[in-house]
Amino acid sequence: MADPVEGGGLSFKPLDQFEVKRLFGEGPIEWYTITNVTMWMALAVLSIVLLLVMGTRKRAVVPGRTQSIAETLYGFVYTMVEDVTGKDGIKYFPYIFTLFIFILFSNFLGLLPMSFTTTSHIAVTAILAFAVFITVTVLGFVKNGASFLSLFWVSSAPLALRPILAVIEVISYFVRPVSHSIRLAGNLMAGHAVLKVFAGFAQVGLIIAPVAILGVVAIYALEVLVSAIQAYVFTILTCVYLKDALHPHH
């Protein structure tokens, strides 16, 4: 049992799962190449259609299980948007729900063994975060004009401190998309890598293997939690940024 360790054959490849691969044939990965990214994103779309479209097909006044889940998700995000951004944020609900449902399903699909987690890639989360950042910034200026800049001018602080605070506010504003994207990708990547490391240890010996498997189970449970929480965090931060754009005055 201990042979692989001594022989150096114990393979820890916790990052292999994040590799982007061609699904068909050989060659470089062009922008249009069908890869595992394509497949798992398509599966996310499929799952979303199954839950939100097929699940609500009956339009039952007394909902079945699937319809209940769809309605709960809808209500959850709708309430969040309404509570955080106010009534005038409701019209952005479809966009926010799109983000939420995509991240939620990508996270959960990534938890399937042998799967690929699209949201563990900074390329994906950065696009999501920058889309939110640019939209919110443009929206802020369109809705409020130059008075959107009052977001950085903390009028409740003493006058002397305001320029310093403004600098800090501006920096924190531009750090938003970075933290927004890295938080999501980092959480998922770290979780999945740890899971893989524990799984690697499961090859080792009689004593370590059961502990490693217990570890896998525990980390997996944690990852289920993290998947939901990160989708929630990303969404509620989007709502908060949107609120800043709609009501920039402190």
Partner: protein, 176 residues
């Protein structure tokens, strides 16, 4: 041991973390945008309006049901009030009827009593008169019998009785 995973991973992916392999970025970004647009279209065209309408319909149903229940409750309360009122009215009516009947009976009774009293009085007076007549008759008869008897007795004793004297004597006796 601690170095092994990192090294193995690094070797496997060639250039460290696959996340930082920029050659795959265009691919990921392209498919992400496609996915987001598809999800957005499906949600905004089909799923969200449908769920919203289902929720609105349910809300409507619930509101209607509550309104209907409230109306029924109100009607029940009205019916109860009407019932109570009817009960009170009926009680009052009954009490009135009882009182009226009592008064009527009393009045009738009074009239009957008076009539009976008057009748009794009349009968009494009549009876008294009759008794007086009988008494008078009896006195007369006694007088006549006494007169005759006295006349006979006087005649039997050989005397000739003067009728006026006898009558006077009898009258004096009768009074005594």
């Amino acid at each position: 041991m601690a170095d092994t995973p990192v090294e193995a991973g690094a070797e496997a992916s060639g250039a460290g973390m696959p996340q930082l392999d920029f050659s795959t970025f265009p691919n990921q970004i392209f498919w992400l945008l496609v996915t987001l647009v598809v999800i957005y279209l499906i949600l905004s065209r089909v799923a969200l309006p449908r769920i919203a309408s289902v929720l609105a319909e349910r809300q409507g149903t619930i509101t209607n049901d509550i309104a209907a229940a409230e109306e029924l409750k109100m009607r029940a309360q009205e019916a109860e009030a009407a019932y109570d009122k009817a009960l009170i009215d009926a009680r009052a009516e009954a009490a009135k009827i009882v009182a009226d009947t009592k008064a009527e009976i009393q009045a009738e009774l009074d009239v009957e009593m008076q009539k009976a009293d008057a009748e009794i009085a009349a009968k009494t007076a009549e009876s008294e008169k009759a008794i007086a007549e009988i008494q008078d008759g009896a006195t007369e008869a006694v007088k006549t019998v006494a007169k005759d008897a006295a006349k006979e007795i006087v005649a039997a004793m050989g005397g000739k009785a003067d009728a006026r004297t006898i009558t006077a004597a009898i009258n004096a006796r009768m009074k005594g």
